[in-house]
């Protein structure tokens, strides 16, 4: 699949990945094989581990932004946040192709790498959007709003951006229990936070009242003559029900 026998390993996050792409490009590769160092088992292949270098990464990002525009940057970030094993090679190919041909690569869906990147980016964007709706905050004793989620993809930052704009003056925490990471907004800054992975949290006095009212509302608003649990499940898959307040199953 790759056009060299070299497997580029990057240790770390997005920055390291961009360095791996830059390295592949400098060696003339167009469809390099790229994998994360801690996930790789490419011991059959010749590998090259690329260390993270902030300056190199910034340079490549700048070139990519100029060549592909904001839309490309958004697709690249989203695709990376998908955290799908094996997608890095397609993403690297997409980046190198864009550096060569520019923005129009976004429309080149005949190319399997472009297609994979666009599909993953779309999935991430869609999950972020869905969770903007499905996330449920609980008011804690001290007035902080706390929400848990278990997304397939790493959508914590897009979620945080949404709520920064919406609940600017509040203090809230969003906790990805699948990945064990959380962010806190204190009204001014976004900070990393820690939160208990499971179990109850100390709720405010009025919290249970609002939960009960919401459950009543969602039951009352349904038109029983049009009952369609299959459609409900299709639009709101079961795996998102864990952290809801209302009970879709009835």
């Amino acid at each position: 699949m790759g056009d060299t026998d070299l497997l580029y390993l990057y240790g770390g996050g997005f920055e390291a990945f961009l360095c791996a792409c830059a390295e592949a490009r400098s060696r003339g590769a167009r469809r390099p094989l790229v994998e994360s160092a801690d996930r790789s088992d490419g011991w059959l292949m010749e590998t090259m581990t690329v260390p993270p270098d902030p300056d190199q990464a910034r340079l490549l990002a700048g070139r990519l932004a100029r060549a592909g525009g904001a839309a490309t940057i958004r697709e690249v970030c989203r695709c990376f946040l998908a955290e799908t094993p094996g997608a890095e090679s397609a993403l690297a190919a997409f980046i190198l192709l864009t550096l060569e041909r520019g923005r129009c690569v976004l429309g080149m869906r005949q190319d399997p790498a472009v297609r994979e990147v666009r599909e993953l980016a779309q999935r991430v964007g869609f999950e972020a959007h869905r969770l903007c709706g499905l996330l449920r905050f609980s008011e804690l004793g001290d007035g902080t709003l706390y929400a848990r989620c278990g997304p397939d993809h790493n959508v914590l930052l897009p979620l945080a951006a949404h709520f920064q704009a919406r609940l600017t003056r509040e203090q809230w925490v969003i906790h990805d229990v699948n990945r064990g990471v959380a962010v806190l907004w204190d009204g001014a800054e976004l900070l990393p936070a820690t939160a208990p992975q499971s179990g109850d949290v100390p709720l405010s006095a009025g919290e249970e009242t609002f939960r009960q009212l919401w459950r009543r509302f969602t039951r009352s608003i349904s038109v029983t003559e049009r009952a369609n649990p299959a459609l409900q499940r299709k639009l709101m898959p079961r795996r998102y029900w864990t952290h809801l307040v209302e009970r879709p199953e009835g």
Binding site: M108, S222, R226, A230, Q232, L244, P248
Partner: protein
Amino acid sequence: MDAAFPAIHHAQDTEAKLAVLAEAAKYDVSCVSSGTSGKRDGTTVGNAALGGICHSWSADGRCISLLKVLLSNDCVYDCAYCANRRSNSIPRATFTVGELAALTLGFYRRNYIEGLFLSSAIFSTPDRTMEALVRVAETLRVDHGFGGYIHLKGIPGADPALVARAGLAADRLSVNIELPSGASLGCLAPQKKREAILAPMRQICEGARESKAERERHRKAPLFAPAGQSTQLVVGASPEPDLQILRLTEALYRRFELRRVFYSAYVPVNEDNRLPVPTAAPPMLREHRLYQADWLLRFYGFSVDELLDESLPNLDESLDPKTSWALRHPEQFPVEVNTAAYETLLRIPGIGVKSARRIIAARRHGRLYHADLKVLGVVVKRAGHFVLCGGKHAAEGGWNPLRARELLTAPSRRAPSQPGQPFQLELF
């Protein structure tokens, strides 16, 4: 933090009211929270999302985006089709402004909703009712700095000054036409006069237009219903054919610049000799076809006259309206996807707005073949009959309208439909 937001003081009372007044509002199908974005001036909590956000889905498969309730269900009118009509004996309730504010803000902060959808039965007079609705919206905006979505109903017959205030506080306004003709209105809802419905719609249209123009000159000019106006038509409670419903829809979009027309399959809640005898299930397939036709009017460049006429006044239940049109116009096909204009691509069954755009973007990089169409999101089962790729048709014999019709209307392709079973519905 808690002191800034109103609390619920009598939880059990409020819960009982919520159950009654949410149930009373459920037949108003408008649920969208789209049409406007960003922050209003004076907001301390909240903003609006341009495309709207669905927060949950109810057991009927519909999106829950707003706290949708009546302010009161204690109605003085007696419309034949309405569950809240005066002559029904049902529990009656009325919210206080404080309760509604507490519910809206409490739900909003917890991210249960995008905002409030507030309608009401007519208690005492249209003016009193409209004033009460406006007061709730103004309290939320001014006293609580609420920046989320507010959808207010316009009460037919209300004073224009009240409608004007409503437009300044709400994001979207709607006045429900419900019945698609003056004759049906007169028969089933005689207290709602046609002019009383159209006057506020006209006023909202003008108000929104003026505000938009004003804001282009002065950025801080006040917002008036920035998410525009919508309405609802009940399908199946009265004898009008789809042609009449869609002609009315088209006129509403063109003359009143409505953002959306909603269709609500008639659900029999009352027994009344002016209404059709209740059958096994509400006409949901018909409602679905109307929505598909509505999409064709708004996004696909169709006019009603192309879809229906006096000799064909109702949409085909077994086929989507675009496919039905295409089979009646075989002279328009097949279409070469590598060269056709966007407007032409849109008219191919199985090709939607997204796939038409993708086709145009992809063909810049080289010629498209039939195998490429599926990955571009084209529904090949339908489109395959109607297109050429590089001059070639997918089938051996080439374009064959009769075979296309046969295959597209074959019963084995239809999802099994038992009487009384609701159809699983999706839009394009």
